[in-house]
């Protein structure tokens, strides 16, 4: 029996691949269909998972007390205020909601960021050297940290000892970018492999499938 979903997915995959030859109506059809379907799906999901349980549910269930209704209406009002940006004369009230959101978000983010990304990382960087190869690792991290910081310190001219450090820092940056780029290539190839796997296995049944 023909699996219609698989055939549609295979057709759309080939439509997208056709762009490799050149831009064409099949590619544009798949592209527009994807954008439309994704937007529709997102709208429906957000309504079902955010608006309905958090706004409509509490207001229509009849179980919420005055405080509960207020705690539902206030965020809903702020959300509606955000949408007023579409009208040039109502940008002001839209900023109130934005200011509230930025304030709350900053309050949450600053403490979390400081704890996890700053303090914990500094503590790890300044810990005593280990033994054997771990000492080499620690030394490399220390030299890398100082020289890369030297490179990004633009308030002083990159001359003398500072300049030499900055030049070493560039090498550390190049190695880091190289590793990152290698991983990026791998990620893109992985996407291609998955699509080709889908075509050869799920659609054409030329290769065995499943986890074994």
């Amino acid at each position: 029996m023909i699996d219609v979903q698989t055939w549609i997915a295979a057709f759309l995959t080939l439509c997208v691949f056709s762009f490799l030859y050149r831009d064409n109506p099949f590619y544009r059809f798949a592209e527009h269909l994807f954008v439309g379907a994704a937007a529709g799906y997102l709208l429906a999901t957000q309504y079902q998972n955010v608006i309905r349980p958090n706004v409509i549910g509490p207001l229509t269930s009849g179980t919420a007390d005055a405080q509960g209704i207020l705690l539902t209406l206030l965020p809903a009002m702020l959300g509606i205020l955000l949408l007023l940006r579409v009208h040039p004369r109502l940008v002001g009230p839209a900023r109130w909601a934005l200011a509230f959101y930025v304030g709350v978000y900053s309050g949450i983010a600053v403490t979390g960021y400081l704890q996890a990304q700053v303090l914990a990382q500094i503590a790890d960087t300044v810990k005593p050297f280990g033994e054997g190869w771990k000492a080499v690792d620690s030394a490399l991290i220390l030299v890398g940290l100082l020289t890369v910081l030297a490179y990004f310190f633009f308030s002083a001219p990159h001359t003398g000892v500072h300049g030499a450090g900055a030049r070493v820092g560039i090498w550390f940056l190049m190695v880091a970018f190289g590793a990152s780029f290698g991983y990026t290539v791998m990620a893109r190839v992985s996407l291609l492999i998955a699509r080709v796997q889908f075509l050869l296995r799920d659609w054409l049944h030329w290769i065995p499938g499943g986890v074994s």
Partner: protein, 285 residues
Amino acid sequence: MSWARRLLGVDRRIIFIFIGLGTAVPLLLPVNLPITVTPRVEAAYQTIDTLPEGSRVLISMDYEPDTMAELQPMSIAIMRHCFRKNLKVIGMTLYPAGPGLVEPAMRIAAEAEGKTRNVDYVFLGYKSGFQTVMIGLGESLRQQYPVDFYRTPLDSIPVLRGVDSYAQIDLVVNLTASSAADYWIQFAATRYRKKLVLGATAVMATDYYPYLSSRQLLGLVGGMKGAAEYEKRMDLFGDARRGMDAQSLVHVIIAILVILGNVALLAMQRSGEGGGPAGPLGGPR
């Protein structure tokens, strides 16, 4: 026109054919190149492997179809590992399109290891808002998710009996393609001091090495390669291992093309022909 100029001006569609063949042929004729398990993946494996039977593992699978190639095999392998060790799995996703991938992944892993929904695992579904959910889980799981993905009240699900916050969870695993990892590190690992293992796309992987060193992450599975290593460690042959032959061959092809391009460029510069390709940036003419 010299060979170097012709080489640099080659139609890019010829390169696409090479890459396409390099991907398809190893999938059709696999040679199963050896895979070495790196310390990062081994650490992730050991973190799960050493948990006592019955421990609760919260797995947040925060990805969508655009990155499923790397993260779906990872999810299945890690969940199968949990099930083999008789750990209780609590699955969730913070991405709207996540349930369509996560729900089948949980079902595949559970069926493969003979586990039952609600007894051995639960899927909570999608919830909007990274930070609010992560902070909320520190207070009450039931406030965040009154019902699971199938609309079953949490109180009637046996696997969640006695579980209502991070305090009753032994390990958090985040499989993600986004900055959700940063927030799991900030809130679950740092604020609530939970053990955290990260599975990330290859693009992201290098950004999270510092967190391994600081022990904010106890293991890191990066991209399809990491997933293949995990499958190897589990003695499974899933989509990640199946794809690694193609991954290796395509990398060899790309490396050869880069070397050839550079040799041709040098040859042109030495012969005084200049450094530019014959066509507009080597594109189709």
